[in-house]
């Protein structure tokens, strides 16, 4: 039987769609299959409560790489970004981080003159480091096997590119940093957010707020080495002004998915929803196609899977196709979901007295993480298999940007809850789900007295739900936590190079591959380019 498609892409999340769109644009025959009825995976905007639409996982698309937007002409396909002038708001103290560094300085001066002074330099430095990471995001890590000369060359090339980046335009503001900012970069990468931020700031409110970002998707506290890297990673994409990018897709992150799907279909890709894959078919070390849950088999010589590596290789492909060492390495991937979300249908806009009536502040990420020790304590609970009693909260009210998300006069709020460990020691998630919602609301209500009275309905997505409903093994939103040992050449597992796998023609194109999670489109784009180059 001849192959009906050049490429089959498994999974219609933003990375799968990026791969499909790019391959279709290159003139190839592409089929994308999605298990659920809606596209987007955890980057979807869904009507969880009748009349109310929510971003079920990813809350914005600000990390999306410019080359993804440009090469797929997403703006032409309806993607529109709003540059929100405000990034983060702390409802405890009222501290707000604005895109405008001067405005942030004014805020910070109420907490610490020193921090206010340091802020512009920090924005500058972290922006430069994030630029380097953005460049690295599109460079596949070289292999460690092959001829020594080639290897040395490949690694030297990477080192030189990084070196050139570090040496470029050393701005006067950070010239005092070191001989070369590259050295400081190398020093910072393996650091903890705790050390990184303590070296720079003194205000607990600011440090807590910044550290909260670093812990996204991690089963780690701010004292863990490598969390400084994550702090910078979340500034990937276009300028993020010291926190996370403040760009929001108009209409929710789901609009990005629609634009991607449109780009893919316009280019001729076929997209099938309600088409879960039950197996990846392979013969003598080569991929042959997929079998759907319906029993249908579809042939293709190249398959890109945006499912997480454990699901892809152990569930869909099957361990017998792999060497024992490879299966062991895949089993050893630390997935460890720790993120839950709570979605509220609100009868009105909640009042946060600390915002002083300034509704604009409420368009930011509303972050409860008053200090780095608060975050550390929150993780202590997770370490021993418990839900954080005093969680890190990141709440958003997307309906403030886009009134179409809720009926007139009403609002939606989505709350990200950290830490909610996938493996609970004493209970199970089905019995803890509502308690988690209560903890989140207790925490937020302290700073928004009328919040509870406005709630018309709520939905809670636990790590277990992210696994069951969205297919993320262990509810790991990054498809493998982005700890130092699972980055770069160690991602997805040691020995897998350039999105390839031990099975010829089978590629990984999701967050489980380099550079990792977040709505960047990088794994999807990089894998598609690699697969096309090596197409048979």
């Amino acid at each position: 039987m001849s192959a009906a498609y050049d490429f089959i892409v498994i999974g219609g999340g933003h990375n799968g769609l990026t791969s499909a769109a790019w391959l279709a644009k290159a003139g190839r025959k592409v089929l994308l299959v999605e298990r659920r009825a809606t596209l987007g995976g955890v980057a979807a905007t869904e009507e969880l409560i009748p009349g109310f639409r929510f971003n079920v996982g990813a809350s914005d698309a600000g990390m999306l790489l410019p080359q993804v937007i440009d090469s797929l002409e997403l703006e032409h396909h309806g993607l529109e970004f709003i540059e929100n002038p405000v990034a983060a708001f702390d409802p405890i103290t009222g501290l707000t981080i604005w895109r405008d560094a001067e405005k942030t300085q004014q805020e910070l001066s109420k907490f610490s003159a020193k921090d206010a002074n340091t802020w512009p330099e920090y924005v500058n430095q972290s922006g430069r480091f994030a630029d380097i990471l953005t460049q690295m995001a599109s460079l596949a890590p070289p292999a460690l096997k092959g001829s020594p000369t080639n290897l040395l060359l490949a690694w030297a090339r990477l080192a030189l590119r990084l070196r050139a980046l570090g040496g470029k335009e050393p701005s006067p503001a950070i010239r005092g940093q070191f001989k070369s900012s590259m050295m400081e970069f190398l020093r910072v990468l393996p650091m903890s957010a705790y050390q990184f931020l303590n070296e720079r700031f003194e205000s607990n409110a600011l440090k807590g707020m910044l550290a909260s970002v670093a812990l996204t998707g991690l089963d780690q506290g701010p004292r863990a080495a490598g969390t400084a890297f994550m702090l910078l990673y979340h500034q990937l994409g276009r300028r993020s002004d010291g926190f996370r990018s403040t760009r929001v897709a108009r209409g929710g992150v789901g609009e990005l998915i629609e634009a991607l799907a449109e780009a893919a279909m316009d280019a001729g890709a076929e997209i099938r929803t309600d088409s879960g894959v039950s197996a990846i078919l392979a013969e003598s070390g080569r991929v042959r196609g997929v079998r759907l849950n319906s029993g249908d088999e579809i042939r293709a010589n190249t398959i890109l899977s945006s499912a997480d590596p454990r699901t892809t290789f152990l569930d869909l492909l099957g361990a017998p196709q792999l060497t024992p060492l490879t299966s062991r390495r895949i089993r050893n991937i630390k997935l460890r979901g720790t993120t839950a979300s709570i979605h509220l249908a609100l009868n009105g806009l909640p009042d946060f007295p600390s915002a002083g009536g300034d509704t604009q502040r409420l368009t930011a990420a509303i972050v409860i993480c008053p200090s780095m020790d608060y975050a550390e304590h929150a993780h202590d609970d997770a370490k021993y298999g418990r839900i954080s009693e005093h969680p890190i909260i990141e709440a958003r009210i997307p309906s403030l940007h886009d009134s179409s998300l809720a009926p007139v006069g009403q609002h939606t709020m989505s709350i990200i809850f950290r830490f909610a460990p996938y493996r609970l020691r004493a209970n199970d998630w089905d019995s803890e789900r509502e308690r988690l919602g209560d903890i989140a609301l207790d925490t937020l209500s302290k700073f928004s007295p009328n919040l509870r009275s406005l709630i018309a309905d709520r939905r809670i997505i636990t790590p277990l739900d992210y696994e069951r409903e969205y297919g993320l093994a262990e509810g790991s939103i990054h498809q493998g936590q982005m700890s130092l040992d699972q980055l770069h050449l160690m991602r997805p597992v040691p020995g897998f190079v350039a999105y390839r796998s031990p099975i010829d023609g089978l590629y990984l194109c999701g967050a489980g591959a380099h550079p990792g999670g977040g709505v960047t489109g990088a794994p999807g784009l990089n894998a598609a380019m690699q697969a096309l180059r090596e197409m048979r």
């Binding site: 080495a225 020790d373 160690m490």
Partner: protein, 538 residues
């Protein structure tokens, strides 16, 4: 008198550095502030008849080339093997890992046959890893930002070395560099107490928990020991660790080095941008062409010289250099031999280490307390009974016991329940808590050694603050600075200054805060000497 070189600090690294410089014909003077040599590598008779290895207590990392080149055995160094590690468990059982691999295998097999097999394989892998890293311990770190041919060549050689160890070994090495010790071990073993007691060697001396990324590397650091060519064997120096310092000092003296104790250096003398000697606290000035500091970087760069003479970036990084100590020491003088309830009476287990590390959570909880500024109520303890190995350490029939304890943070505050929103604990003097800490250690040990309280004659309790006060190490950090990834290799102590030089002409560093770091290795002292001699030949 005018010297070629003055070495500040008579710890083992300062002494090694001086001995190597003297060996090359330089006139060298070592200045030590205390009345005894050795710094943290010292044996002292704290109570009459009882000799304590007051600070460091075991040896395995001392570089064999130093033992050979300085002829340390001829100068009195004898290393006696530590036979085993016993980990008593709360249920009355124990894990025993001894010098006989079959016995260890059988012991672990009681818990898990799979782990017993994995233990062998693990040992083999760690041997490979230690061999791969040994090369790095023996070289001066290159400067990756420099385009100097020497640096590029060194980087190339380093690259070749890494590639030569093979792909799978390289991946394991990256894991070791980035993972937590418990998680690394969990990829091999399933028995929690075994993982716990093994992971403990990853946290010794660091302010990390067994689940903190970066602690797996320290695991390797402690595996790199090499005594008589046998990897990972720990030993005890006859006469205590002080005997190591004495042997190095004797070797140095024979090679012509002069050593003065009770001579505390106040400042390094400068002319223009050159170091020209030192002034002692007594006011005495001594001139030299070279000044080498074996002290930690905070003292070397911020105290001994005026930091305004240094680049701002270096000062910033040195100020931020993590030197908060995390370990304490409790030294006991005992009237009789301790008796373990899990293994009563005499036995080889008493001539090895007794490790209180019953579960990963136990150690992690001990770390949790320290994170927020309290000493661990139920600490991790690594105890040895030196007098069992070397009877000369205590009067006949009596014993000394050395207990290394974690965690004891440098800054402590009074015990309160969880403080959700308090960042920096009010620095409180250890004076109010030292004995409570000692009690926590003795109480914890007594759970496994029921006769302990009855046989204690004297006890000495040392907090990191005491370590700082007694021997000067800032923060009481036993490695002169955390062995964290951002403080290792070409980043130790600061990027651009990891080659033992300083921005001041004629002023060098040779302590544990330089590559390859802490432990009784002597390597920083030796590598610094090589670099100094190289500069002199120019």
């Amino acid at each position: 008198m005018n010297y070629d070189a003055i070495v500040i600090g008579g710890g083992h690294n300062g002494l090694v550095n001086a001995a190597y410089l003297a060996r090359s014909g330089l006139s060298v003077l070592v200045l030590e502030q205390r009345h005894v040599l050795g710094g943290a590598t010292v044996t002292e008779e704290i109570f009459p008849g009882f000799k304590f290895t007051v600070f460091s207590y075991v040896v395995s990392l001392l570089r064999p080339e130093i033992i050979r080149e300085l002829e340390l055995p001829r100068h009195g160094l004898t290393i006696l093997p530590l036979e085993s590690t016993i980990t008593p468990l709360p249920n009355g059982d124990y894990i025993y890992r001894g010098s006989d691999p079959h016995e260890t295998f059988r012991n672990i097999q009681r818990f898990s046959p799979r782990d017993a097999e994995a233990y062998r394989e693990y040992g083999h892998t760690m041997y490979q890893m230690a061999k791969a890293v040994k090369y790095i311990l023996g070289i001066r770190p290159p400067d990756p930002t420099s385009l100097h041919p020497r640096e590029l060549l060194a980087l190339l050689k380093l690259g070749k070395h890494f590639l030569s160890i093979g792909e799978d070994n390289l991946y394991t090495l990256v894991k070791l560099m980035t993972m937590s010790s418990a998680e690394f071990l969990e990829e091999w073993f399933e028995t929690d107490p075994l993982i716990a007691t093994m992971s403990a060697s990853g946290i010794i001396g660091t302010f990390l928990g067994p689940r903190s990324p970066g602690s797996a590397y320290v695991l390797l650091h402690h595996y790199m020991g090499e005594i008589d060519g046998v990897f990972r064997a720990w030993g005890f120096a006859k006469g205590g660790t002080g005997a190591i310092s004495e042997a190095i000092a004797n070797s140095g003296r024979e090679l012509g080095a002069e050593i003065r104790t009770e001579a505390k250096v106040a400042k390094v003398l400068m002319r223009g941008d050159r170091a020209t000697g030192v002034v002692l606290e007594s006011g005495e000035e001594i001139q030299a062409r070279l000044v080498i500091s074996s002290l930690d970087p905070k003292l070397t760069f911020l105290k001994l010289i005026d930091p305004s003479q240094l680049p701002d970036d270096l000062v910033r990084i040195v100020r931020n250099f993590e030197t908060q100590g995390s370990s304490g020491k409790v030294n006991l003088a005992l009237d009789a031999a301790p008796d373990l309830s899990c293994w009563p009476g005499d036995g080889p287990h008493l001539r090895g280490a007794i490790s209180v590390s019953p579960s990963v959570d136990y150690i992690e909880r001990a770390y949790d307390e320290a994170k927020y500024g309290q000493f661990s109520r139920r600490p991790y303890i690594d105890a040895i009974i030196p007098s069992m190995i070397d009877p000369g350490m205590a009067p006949p029939g009596k014993h000394v016991m050395s207990c290394f304890v974690q965690y004891a943070p440098y800054k402590v505050h009074k015990y309160t329940s969880r403080q959700a929103n308090k960042e920096e604990p009010a620095a409180e003097n250890w004076d109010g808590q030292r004995e409570a800490f000692g009690d926590a250690v003795v109480d914890t040990l007594s759970e496994y050694i029921p006769n302990l309280k009855k046989i204690i004659l004297h006890r000495q309790v040392l907090s990191p603050r005491d370590i700082e006060e007694k021997i000067g190490m800032t923060g009481g950090n036993i490695f002169q600075g955390e062995l964290s990834l951002s403080q290792l290799f070409f980043l130790r102590p600061a990027p651009g200054y990891a080659q033992y030089r300083t921005p001041i002409q004629g002023y060098y560093q040779c302590g544990s805060a330089t590559h390859p770091g802490g432990g009784i290795t002597g390597a920083p002292g030796r590598l610094a000497a090589m670099e100094i001699l190289r500069d002199l030949r120019k």
